[in-house]
């Protein structure tokens, strides 16, 4: 045996370990997972408040008092960091690690340590966001938190991410399922991206626009190589799980995974089209962005073929209603993203609210919705009790689905018009600004809808956590069971 093969053989020292019951695994993950979800939801609410402040400020600049820490540039950055590293990362930690442990059929020992690491992550984040509001932000997109909190975040991430690797190392299964590939890869990619970006932009800044390239390699890949794989891992797990049928095609999963891993990496440069960097880099970024059509279509076909014929079940299950909404948004958002990378389209959409809309398409309509769905599945298994209110889940779903649809329409249409007007020098610039106002107002209204949904989720979650006794009497899982007769 070659040394390389024996090294990888040693990665799985357990041999044929006894498989553990899923309930035992859930039990072992209870406290860290509940903690991460609590933290995620708290950040989601905080991030929504920042979002509303920023959104209203943008069409009514004199509406809020003229306080320094409420100024648009700071509040929008606080929003981004709260929903990215607060809501999304905590959700990923909960969902990703839980899926990994389940798929590896292995208990997580000493889950208390995981909880402590999670505490440090959130303390670091809290300090970072205070730093942003305080005026100590970096103005590097997606890395706004003062660089002094980065070491704490990196260290606590290492202590969190390693639990996924440990589960994998001690797995008791032979086959490695597609969700595990995605989670394993993402757990490895995120720290690489984060550390490289921190070092090359903030600690030892690279020269000139090499910084900008590093910035967009990082910022685009945080979505593409961290949130997206986790969202897809959840979709690949929950769709077959809830429907009780296998994924349509193993081979499509393989193609989808490797083409995503290969192409998404290179796509970030499309944020710099027309900018002061070598043109060959931009072209490489455009090619990779267009090639992203392959993993997207492949994954869409695979998911669709798994679901086909079972749409009624999807509509009944809170988990699947959110996750299928997310999976469909992934397809649409990615295809629009590929189109936006073409120079002819980019010359209109670049620098406009269209891009902001696109970011929410990926981060909310896809990723966040799949995480909502995952949490609806996880919580009853972690706590052994049901969601107290199907009504609140329904409010959550409709507020989120309608809210994000309205927001995407407003920002895409408004952004496109803004871009066309900006490229027409006969229209004074200030007029292009004024003409965005109605669209920005629609975005604020959409944001209020999302806030209602988040509030419903928040109430339902803490009701479930603390109001346990009464709801155990309910029989069976909480479903949208209006059509149970049919």
């Amino acid at each position: 045996m070659s040394p390389l093969a024996s090294f990888f053989g040693a990665i799985r020292p357990g041999g044929d370990r006894p498989k553990v019951q899923l309930t035992q695994i859930d039990e072992s993950m209870r406290s860290p997972c509940v903690f991460f979800i609590m933290a995620a939801l708290s950040w989601l609410v905080a991030g929504t408040v920042f979002a509303l402040l920023a959104s209203f400020t943008l069409h009514a600049p004199d509406y809020f008092p003229n306080w320094e820490w409420l100024t648009f540039g700071r509040v929008r950055s606080a929003h981004l960091n709260a929903v990215a590293y607060g809501w999304s990362n905590n959700a990923v930690f909960a969902v990703g690690l839980w899926l990994m442990a389940r798929l590896c059929r292995t208990e997580v020992r000493h889950g208390g340590l995981l909880l402590v690491a999670g505490l440090f992550w959130n303390v670091g984040l809290f300090c970072g966001i205070l730093g942003i509001l305080n005026g100590n932000m970096t103005s590097v997109e997606w890395l706004e938190m003062p660089s002094s909190v980065a070491p704490l975040l990196v260290a606590s991430y290492a202590l969190i991410g390693v639990w996924g690797i440990l589960s994998f190392r001690y797995r008791a299964t032979d086959h490695v399922y597609v969700s595990q590939w995605y989670i394993l890869a993402a757990l490895f990619w995120f720290p690489w991206l984060y550390v490289v970006a921190q070092v090359m932009i903030l600690w030892m800044p690279a020269r000139g626009t090499v910084q900008s390239i590093t910035n967009w390699w990082f910022a685009h890949n945080v979505l593409g190589l961290w949130y997206t794989p986790m969202g897809l891992a959840a979709a690949y797990y929950f769709i077959p799980k809830v429907l009780g049928r296998p994924i349509h095609s193993y081979y499509l999963s393989v193609i989808g995974f490797w083409s995503l891993a290969l192409f998404y990496n290179w796509a970030g440069v499309h944020h710099l089209i027309g900018g002061p960097i070598p043109v060959w880099l931009i072209s490489a970024g455009i090619v990779a962005s267009v090639m992203m059509v392959i993993p997207v279509i492949v994954t869409a076909v695979n998911h669709h073929m798994t679901v086909v014929g079972q749409f009624k079940a999807v509509w009944m299950s809170p988990t699947l209603r959110f996750i299928v909404f997310g999976a469909m948004s992934y397809t649409l958002a990615s295809l629009i993203g590929s189109a936006m990378a073409l120079r002819e389209v980019n010359v209109v959409t670049h620098f406009t609210h269209f891009t902001v809309g696109h970011a929410h398409h990926g981060a909310y309509a896809f990723f966040t919705m799949t995480m909502f769905g995952s949490i609806y599945f996880m919580m009853p298994r972690l706590l052994n009790r049901e969601w107290p209110s199907a009504f609140l889940i329904r409010v959550h779903f409709w507020a989120a689905a309608l809210g994000i649809t309205l927001m995407l329409l407003a920002l895409h249409v408004g952004g496109w018009i803004q871009g066309l007007e900006m490229n027409n020098p006969d229209i004074p610039f200030l007029d292009t600004v004024k003409n965005t106002v109605p669209w920005l107002i629609s975005r604020s209204l959409a944001g209020c809808l999302l806030a209602i949904g988040h509030l419903a989720f928040f109430i339902n979650f803490f009701w479930m956590l603390w109001g346990g006794e009464t709801v155990e009497e309910l029989e069976g899982p909480t479903l949208f069971n209006e059509q149970v007769e049919g």
Binding site: F72, S139, P205, T209, V210, G274
Partner: protein, 210 residues
């Protein structure tokens, strides 16, 4: 998938590939550019930011101005950057080499500022605009930066630095009071006025009027 070495190596290779291709190769290609003089004997460009302007950049960074204002001029014919008077030549990598933090920006909720020091060279205009954008640009969505200014009682004589509001401006202080810029506001305006591309580089010259 059972071939784990392949899985691990593949995961590693994919990100190493893009890091090498996008970042390392850029570093090699233009990571050691130097300022250059277009004719021998002239002072090379670009130049290091000096004095207050550099402190003003911190104010610009700390308040997130770049989330609405880009700092880049795209080539003629790609967008309307030239026609809007945002620059007389395309900006190129060398223009940014002496900036410790590069603020290219990805939004133009407000206009591009790569050349704003040349386009709008009045200190007073910038102060009024920062204090309340509605004074100079009615209908703008820019937030007011009144917190960078102080209202104070007029002493023996009005301050030289006091803002000169247009007549009938509703937000003007009561009589006996005046609004003066804080040190941060002065630094920020210095920074804005320092943003000029008034030199040529061998690889990017001013566009002719054709």
């Amino acid at each position: 998938m059972k071939n784990l070495p392949l899985l691990f190596l593949g995961i590693f290779f994919c990100i190493a590939f893009s890091w090498t291709g996008l970042i390392l190769s850029s570093q090699i290609q233009f990571g050691s550019l130097e300022p250059i003089a277009i004719e021998e004997g002239e002072r090379p460009h670009p130049r290091k930011p000096v004095g207050l302007a550099d402190q003003g950049k911190q104010v610009y960074i700390g308040n997130g101005c770049m989330y609405c204002h880009s700092q880049q001029t795209r080539r003629k014919g790609f967008g309307a950057d030239f026609d809007r008077g945002w620059g007389e030549r395309q900006t190129v990598p060398r223009d940014y080499i002496l900036q410790k933090r590069v603020l290219l920006g990805t939004m133009r909720t407000g206009p591009d500022l790569m050349n704003v020091g040349q386009r709008l060279s009045s200190r007073d205009w910038h102060h009024l605009h920062l204090y309340d954008p509605q004074i100079t640009s009615e209908g703008s969505v820019m937030p007011p930066f009144g917190f960078l200014y102080r209202t104070q009682e007029i002493g023996d004589a009005p301050s030289d630095h006091a803002l000169r509001f247009p007549p009938n401006y509703e937000g003007a202080p009561e009589s006996g009071y005046e609004v003066v810029p804080s040190a941060r506001a002065e630094a920020l305006v210095d920074y804005l006025l320092s943003l000029k591309i008034n030199y040529e580089l061998p690889e990017s010259k001013f566009a002719s009027d054709d």
